[in-house]
Symmetry: C2
Subunit: 385 residues, 2 copies
């Protein structure tokens, strides 16, 4: 009777949604992606009527596409080359139409795109995996912004043992880029897995990681605010005009009055990618007694003081104040083919000119999440030592 009931349950649930992917031995099960032990991947898709099916993704040279081949069961497939360890994204293209892999439930949203992901281990991406190690708590938490007059959402990672401990913890404020939000670092950046793993390996100190929403006009990520379900866009008002930096002390105050933290400069770090690097640069400079650790990942450096905000006034003078106050780490990383490479080189020249010390990390690649995950993995172990 139990088996009958379970079968009924399966059928009842299957009726709504599951027949696409669940089957009862009637059909050949389509597995896709199949990550092989040698690091190759087989992509598969059943598409009986299609004339041409391709796979497209960042595992292919120049994020290009490759033709798949159809077998007698109308299953199209493609086997990749041996791939280096990484979190990859991909789509299928069926007769010109871009579609997701119907057999892969793992998807990540990047602005207005949703792409399938797969992970190749046995290398650096092992740090992006959930491993059998103690896990921190990941909370979606709201704070009330008196200055912005809205309730706003952030993602807060507290390290394993935080709740049972009586200790005070250091805090890393980790900022996203344009088009991102408080879900970017947890999803695309695998930040919570990276921290769990670095802490378990003894490479990083247990720390709180605060992933804010850097778009001051937004309550929360698309779909998570009172705006409801709408199509996300890249361009949002007030992202780089000083409002984010002006109101950032509210975030620090919220964290320091709601978590067991050391409210000290040597226990605070701020880092961000692209626009978040811009924010980190300006916040750490404008509040020069606040952060001992600064990380600029492929930062959008624009030191031209076009905006009226007081944040951007007296740029060079305030940098010197930051320099004279002292700090423990000013870490800049960028890829050789990043379109911001020259801006960053110019900024380094300025830092050299005023004698402001920094650590510079130049990598392969461009303006990519692959690099930002690497940068976080390298930066976090340098903090609070």
């Amino acid at each position: 009777m139990k088996n009958l009931l379970i079968l009924l349950l399966l059928i009842a649930l299957g009726k709504a949604n599951a027949q696409e992917n669940l089957n009862f031995g009637r059909q050949k099960e389509v597995v896709s992606p199949q990550v092989n032990p040698d690091g190759t991947v087989i992509f598969r898709m059943k598409a009986p009527g299609a004339k041409r099916v391709q796979v497209q993704g960042d595992f292919l040279p120049r994020s290009g596409s490759a033709d798949m081949k159809m077998d007698a069961d109308s299953i199209w497939s493609y086997t990749s080359a041996v791939l280096p360890s990484e979190l990859y994204s991909y789509s299928f293209v069926v007769d010109g139409l871009k579609v997701r892999d119907p057999n892969n439930v793992y998807l990540i949203r990047d602005v207005a795109s949703v792409v399938n992901v797969l992970l190749i281990g046995n290398g650096k991406a092992d740090n992006y995996k959930v491993q059998e190690v103690p896990h921190g708590t990941v909370a979606k938490r709201w704070y009330s912004s008196a200055e912005l007059k809205i309730n706003r959402r952030m993602t807060v990672y507290t390290p394993p043992g935080y709740e049972q401990s009586k200790e005070k913890y250091p805090v890393l404020y980790l900022l996203h880029g344009m088009g991102g939000d408080e879900e970017a670092w947890p999803a695309l950046g695998r930040a919570t897995q990276i921290l769990d793993n670095l802490i378990a390996q003894g490479k990083a100190k247990p720390m709180i990681v605060v992933m804010t929403n850097g778009n001051v006009s937004q309550e929360a990520a698309p779909g998570e605010s009172s705006k409801g379900f709408y199509k996300p866009g890249m361009m949002l008002p007030n992202t780089m005009d000083g409002r984010m930096e002006e109101t950032f002390p509210e975030v620090i105050k919220f964290i320091e009055s709601n978590y067991r933290v050391n409210a000290r400069k040597d226990q605070r770090a701020i880092a961000g990618l692209s626009m978040g690097g811009y924010h980190s640069l300006h916040i750490s400079r404008f509040y020069p007694q606040t952060f001992d650790y600064i990380g600029l990942f492929s930062p959008a450096v624009m030191a031209d003081g076009r905006h009226k905000s007081k944040v951007y006034a007296n740029f060079e003078e305030s940098l010197k104040v930051q320099k004279n106050n002292g700090y423990k780490l000013y870490w800049i990383a960028i890829g050789k083919t990043d379109f911001l490479y020259k801006n960053v080189a110019d900024y380094r020249a300025k830092l050299d000119q005023i004698g402001m010390k920094y650590t510079y990390r130049e990598t392969e690649g461009g303006h990519t999440w692959s690099n930002w995950r690497d940068y976080l993995s390298e930066f976090a172990p340098l903090l609070f030592k």
Copy 2:
């Protein structure tokens, strides 16, 4: 210069993923779904080469499909009837191939299927929306199961004000069905939005809601455990053999030693859907001094004692113990067309026979999330009064 930089940023990011959905005025923007003020919805998809495009979803009679029509720009569209307020799911079918709506980033996974969702407000689904009200914190938290010998993940909702308060809160343990996990109630069930809204309206008491993973062989939801990215399945070992019930006191103990709660029977509720209703029935009966509030939503009732587990022994006797101990609410809900309707009717007959009081709620519809969201919305206001 700022505009140029932003354009460069857009292009750089667009190169990887965004060209699919971002455009710069070159093409007609496709908006889908477009929810109109009158409650109709326009679905759209650009598919130049397609011969037939359909939309399929639970907003159509018998979750059927409807043909879309192509315009001169190769955009296929379909306008629905006026739809009652609800969270709906849908897919497109292009020449026989089921695909997601490329212009809708809002997706929910149900077992191994990922479907697009849309929400029609001005009715009951307003309770499933993020509204401009105080929001609770939603945490993904891990506990160590000594009995199951794995670390396991749960979703814990703490109500608005919990962190600032010194009060002790009541707890609702909210259990998922077969194929679900600790993400089912937050995602498909919109449980955290429902609680935020009911609490803001003064209809429900502020309470902690604990959404566990009821599959005792699982650390966490698919993709969130050390098993990595794999294709989820409906059938998992040990889901209905007593292990879940036997080890449930670990969950209660973890919550009561980690949160400010009243560890009292009149401050504990347990409810679940389908298999989670089965779990709720057995847990509340097997630990008859533990819960004053019990909710069985379309429960999989199987009181035949086939399993060796001590949980299922002495079924009727232990029900009588539960009855004699007393409780405040034993709430059973089921839809008229649910395939478990007869099982539940038989169970009610047994309850009547032994004189065990319950509140019975019979609704339209079947074994659906639409009903389970309704049941939670009705059940939560009855608790801890």
